[in-house]
């Protein structure tokens, strides 16, 4: 649990640090997407603890960075939004979240849903990546065609969703601390 907490804490710190650059510096977002994807998949490997899923996640953790790097070399300019890899990452993470819920057997452990820290973290992840999927996919279009005010509306919505995710993470950490 401690290891998982450290990993997630690192994810948070890196996302916050890189997030501050994200506004000005788009190339960082390309790398941030990769790091974030790796951390979240590592989290799922530890949270699910199923051999086949762990193996599958290792493969994805190898394939996704390669795809992402190929994308900014050959497909999308590194100074544009990385809408393809970010959408793919979001879809993959949504898949893992849904798998986590379908695989959830909390009732068998006689533990209430709210007392399981991972539930809060997965909920936060699912809410953020699910809701922001369209924002990721249309980010280049927004950047090019939208007026500044519309662009900011979406940026605020995205920031709000990030905040919701971190709030849910916080609740998860609080429960983890109490365990």
């Amino acid at each position: 649990m401690l290891f998982y907490l450290l990993v997630t804490a690192l994810t948070e710190i890196s996302s916050r640090v890189l997030g501050s650059y994200q506004i000005n510096n788009l190339p960082l977002l390309h790398f941030y997407t990769i790091i974030e994807f790796l951390f979240i998949l590592r989290f799922f490997q530890l949270a699910l603890n199923i051999a086949s899923v762990t193996r599958f996640a290792w493969w994805l953790m190898f394939i996704f960075p390669v795809f992402s790097i190929l994308n900014f070399i050959f497909i999308q300019n590194i100074h544009e939004y990385n809408s393809y890899p970010r959408s793919v990452a979001a879809l993959t993470i949504i898949g893992f979240c849904l798998f986590y819920f379908f695989n959830y057997q909390g009732a068998e452990d006689q533990k209430k849903w709210i007392y399981e820290p991972c539930n809060w973290i997965v909920t936060g992840t699912l809410i953020y990546f699910g809701s922001s999927l369209f924002y990721f996919a249309f980010s280049n279009l927004l950047n090019e065609s939208a007026s500044l005010s519309v662009y900011f509306i979406f940026a605020y919505i995205n920031a709000t969703l990030v905040m919701v995710m971190y709030l849910l993470f916080t609740i998860g950490f609080l429960y983890a601390k109490n365990e």
Binding site: A107, K112, W113, I114, I127, F134, I153
Partner: protein, 261 residues
């Protein structure tokens, strides 16, 4: 392609809002479902615990009842006979030694009979002597001799008792004894049929009487005798099904899957 005046950004906003709502509803429904599941499991667990406690209570109560009965038997039969013997010895009349001898013999024989009766009740010696089926038949015979109840024991299961251990034999014997007691006390029946049947997996004991049967409501409110039966059967991992309606006799099928239990 048809041109549209729709604002793509408004549509995008709808998409984000829609997905957000879907995800939140999914999580809420999931939590509700999990909580329901948890509550159901807790209910089942509580019911099981209560039932176990009730069974334990019955075991303790029946132990106490048994002790009381033994105490009463000893006091009323053996104690009284020995007191009689004492009085007879005290009143020994030298002129009538033959009558004294006969009186003493009668009383001593009564004591022997009473002690044997009590010890047979404590541990049915019949099982050791005649085997399980023999002991059941002997018990049924004594029931038939003592009252107007006819009993028929049919064994289609062959020599199954040799595959059962002593505890299982004793438990089944006690269960049949309790069933017979229930029939005598409450059923007002004239005929009891006990069948032993066997298949590859185990044996089935079918107990039938032609008495007044029991209503479903009284099936739920089990008496001490029945809880005793249940606890004995659960110890030997046997299952049972009662098929009885008021006025149509009582029928119970006891299923013992592994003969080695």
């Amino acid at each position: 392609m048809l041109k549209t005046s729709d604002n793509i950004f408004v549509l995008l906003l709808f998409c984000i809002g829609g997905v957000f709502m879907l995800v939140v509803s999914f999580v809420l429904i999931f939590i509700r479902y999990q909580n329901k599941l948890l509550m159901q499991q807790q209910k089942i667990r509580f019911a099981e615990a209560a039932h176990q406690q009730q069974l334990l209570q019955t075991v303790i109560e029946s132990q106490e009842a048994e002790r009381k009965r033994i105490g009463e038997d000893l006091h009323d039969d053996v104690g009284t006979a020995l007191s009689n013997l004492r009085i007879t010895i005290e009143m020994f009349d030298q002129h009538e030694p033959a009558s004294f001898k006969t009186n003493c013999k009668i009383i001593i024989d009564k004591v022997i009979r009473d002690v044997r009766h009590i010890s047979h009740n404590l541990s049915p010696i019949g099982i050791e002597l005649y085997g399980f089926i023999g002991a059941v038949e002997e018990m049924c015979e004594s029931v038939t001799l003592n009252g107007r109840l006819q009993t028929v024991v049919t064994n289609h299961a062959g020599d199954f008792p040799s595959m059962m251990n002593k505890t299982t034999c004793m438990s089944l014997y006690r269960v049949i004894e309790e069933l017979l007691n229930n029939t005598i006390k409450h059923a007002d029946a004239t005929l009891v049929a006990i069948n032993f049947e066997r298949d590859e997996k185990g044996i089935t004991i079918v107990y039938n009487d032609n008495g007044r049967g029991i209503s479903p409501s009284s099936q739920r409110a089990k008496g001490m005798g029945f809880l005793n039966i249940e606890s004995r059967l659960s110890i030997i991992n046997a299952g049972y099904v009662i098929d009885s309606t008021e006025g149509n006799g009582f029928n119970i099928r006891i299923r013992l899957d592994t003969l080695t239990t």
